[in-house]
Symmetry: C2
Subunit: 443 residues, 2 copies
């Protein structure tokens, strides 16, 4: 990504043809990154601000503060009443929302293209001028606790994954839940929230992504008028987080909860993430996920555990490498009734062994690459999906060039690359979890 620190028009950088959409990048004088994805097919615009801060940037003892702050961004500012932003968006026929992840927090609106200036004015307002009260914090903390109750505490699968991640990461804060541990959410205070807001909600820690029926030069001009008026945060800390020590012992988690309706085996390995200019290993892992357990009925695990043997109702594999630090590669097996978890896991391991011996069928690899190409073409039809892709990538330290290189890297993965990626799935850097309704089911 071109980094220019001059005034807005000078910051307007080269237009790079990404996928099929036109992507233009720039940077405001205060350091805010700008990505414009020009797509004139409909008179709408998606407007997003991505902060390069998520739950993994939280200090100790305040898990959940990033997500609580996301809720509080909908409260009053010096210029807006509580709820006003969402009300105005709705009155203008748009939708808005926000989300928090380990590595970023993002706010977005989708509206008619001519409402973009209004969106930018309101979003810039809450970047700098949130007017929180202790009552706001108290109220939203209760909302978040309800959210945790319904999405995590009432969902044995979510509870199980939470315990599993905590056992998977030995040092990284990726082991903490994004929503926060209940006891820590309950203790979150106004000063905790303000410290987080004042440090991280700054233009030099944010990426503006505007996608749709817009003119890039006009977007840059509007961005300088709105976000450009906010001073950079001089005390923004370098983004250096606890790293994993060598993982040298396989871990297992045995989770039983009477609410579990269907037992299953889930294994996660710690694996490399996508790195700027160095995405080859990640691309191989992404394709390996498709080959082993993708949606295709001809995936390796489905073939071995469902069609050739009568072991599994469902098998899955997946990798998401868009992260700042180490990523995870996961495998799952839901056994058929009468098959124990031990038998299901043994069948999973036998399938992995067979893959390491026989490799990938060339025809299958071709089919999967064709599917990946098709999904790329399909992705171009979603201006919101494209905006998400750039926003997430830039929030974890990737550049536009990495986003644009990714589809080609997936196509370039060879059968040998897949074997090498599979060989590197290290049991000593993994957790295998068994989930069942009772201790007796954990067999």
């Amino acid at each position: 990504m071109t980094k220019l620190l001059g005034p807005a028009f000078a910051a307007l950088a080269l237009a790079t043809p990404a996928l099929a959409a036109e992507v233009t990048t720039g940077r405001l004088a205060n350091g805010m990154e700008v990505v414009v994805i020009e797509d004139r097919r409909a008179p709408v615009v998606v407007h997003m601000v991505w902060y390069r801060t998520g739950s993994a940037d939280e200090p100790p003892r305040v898990s959940g503060v990033a997500h609580l702050l996301e809720h509080l961004l909908f409260k009053a500012t010096d210029d807006m009443e509580a709820g006003e932003l969402s009300r105005v968006v709705a009155e203008n026929g748009g939708t808005d929302n926000a989300f928090t992840s380990y590595d970023y927090t993002a706010y977005f609106q989708r509206v008619a293209a001519d409402r973009l200036p209004l969106m930018m004015t309101m979003e810039a307002d809450r970047m700098n001028d949130l007017a929180l009260t202790p009552e706001d914090v108290e109220t939203e903390r209760q909302v978040v606790l309800e959210e945790r109750a319904s999405r995590t505490d009432s969902e044995p699968g979510a509870l199980a994954r939470e315990q599993m991640r905590a056992a998977l990461f030995l040092n990284s804060r990726y082991g903490m839940p994004v929503i926060g541990w209940r006891e820590e959410i309950e203790a979150l205070s106004m000063p905790d929230v303000l410290a987080f807001y004042e440090t991280f909600y700054s233009p030099n820690n944010a990426t503006l992504v505007v996608a749709g029926d817009v003119d890039p030069e006009e977007v840059m001009r509007l961005a300088e008028e709105t976000y450009g008026a906010i001073p950079a945060e001089p005390g923004l800390p370098e983004r250096v987080r606890p790293q994993e020590p060598p993982q040298i012992a396989e871990r297992r988690v045995l989770f039983d909860d009477p609410r579990v309706s269907q037992p299953y085996v889930l294994r996660s390995y710690v694996v490399p993430e996508r790195d700027r200019g160095d995405q080859g290993a990640a691309a191989a892992l992404a394709v390996l996920g498709e080959v082993l357990g993708g949606s295709s009925f001809t995936s390796v695990l489905a073939r071995d555990l469902t069609f050739e043997a009568d072991v599994a109702l469902f098998t899955g594999a997946g990798y998401d490498g868009t992260s700042v630090d180490d990523a995870t590669f996961s495998l799952s097996v839901v056994p058929r009734p009468g098959v124990t978890l031990a038998e299901a896991e043994a069948a999973l391991d036998a399938s992995l062994d067979r893959f390491l011996r026989d490799g990938v069928d060339p025809g299958q690899l071709d089919r999967i690459k064709a599917q990946l190409r098709a999904s790329e073409v399909y992705a171009l039809d979603s201006v919101e999906g494209l905006a998400n892709r750039y926003g997430a990538a830039l929030s974890v330290g990737l550049e536009v060039a990495d986003v644009e290189a990714w589809p080609g890297l997936l196509q370039a993965v060879t059968a040998e690359d897949l074997l090498e990626a599979a060989r590197r799935l290290d049991r000593d850097a993994s957790v295998t979890m068994w989930v069942a309704a009772s201790r007796e089911g954990l067999q």
Copy 2:
């Protein structure tokens, strides 16, 4: 403990008859706690300063900084050359050392009683006037890396326990090794060390323990002259650390390393620690450790796994509840040759089940209590041991009254208390580790 904030002589508090030694407590005007254990049997003194700061007080990313700083306390101050303190102690016929744990860092000398003023002068000097250089940090970091290489990286048992603790604690920094993760030790910098020193090495964060042939009033007078001249640290943070979320899934760790000479099973549960004025549950756990796996050949595990069955070469159990946050209760079994780890663990669980059904034999409980009384009497003969006991307890938030109540609480534990403590050992709050020389041995 009596807390008086007046001048030194006013701070001299009630003399409480602890065990058999005379224990006097007080507090300097700057907040430093003082414990004097008068024991006139030999003309020696043990002089200790305990900082209420250990590895669990470290911020993220700098694991090992508490321990590295302990090493650096032996470097130059404004008044002493590097190594001078230890050299002076040796020239006066004494010994000195230091140690770092999760909850405290302590420095001590044992010398002829008339050398106490010199010890206090030197120890007070390095509390406030350490004159570190970047070269000191670099040199000692290399020393610590060597220490880690020899004590941890070369010791499969130490590596295994390190991985196990990281899986046992989901949020608490008790999951991090005291010596630090190698990659984080390598990155420790002069500013990391100084920030830790300047915040935590302060009289209002320390306990002075003086034990031996001393007069309490004279110790208080000397303490005001030396330590009393150091200002309190106004920015000392409240000691509130990440707490464990509910632990709701049993974990297992499978550790293989070709250097393991003897396979074994080790299980640790997260259990309550000793709390000020509330040590009953901890006392029951301490006695339970003795009953299940103490040194007695008639412990429950030894009876079941070694004498009645031919399963184990060794069994053990243990609890150390002297900690700020949650403590651990551990069980171990070393199987006889030819017995698998699975068989050893099954025998361990069967023995626990039998204990929960049958409880403790009254004769055995009497014998164990008699042993505990004997070990108390024996402990009185070690002035250093007594000093450690008070120093550690006061460093984790206990008071002198708690230390003095502890032996009586152990004697008061009933057979029913033991059953209740055993029932509360929650597999969902535990890690069971198998250690062997190879994956094949992990069966």
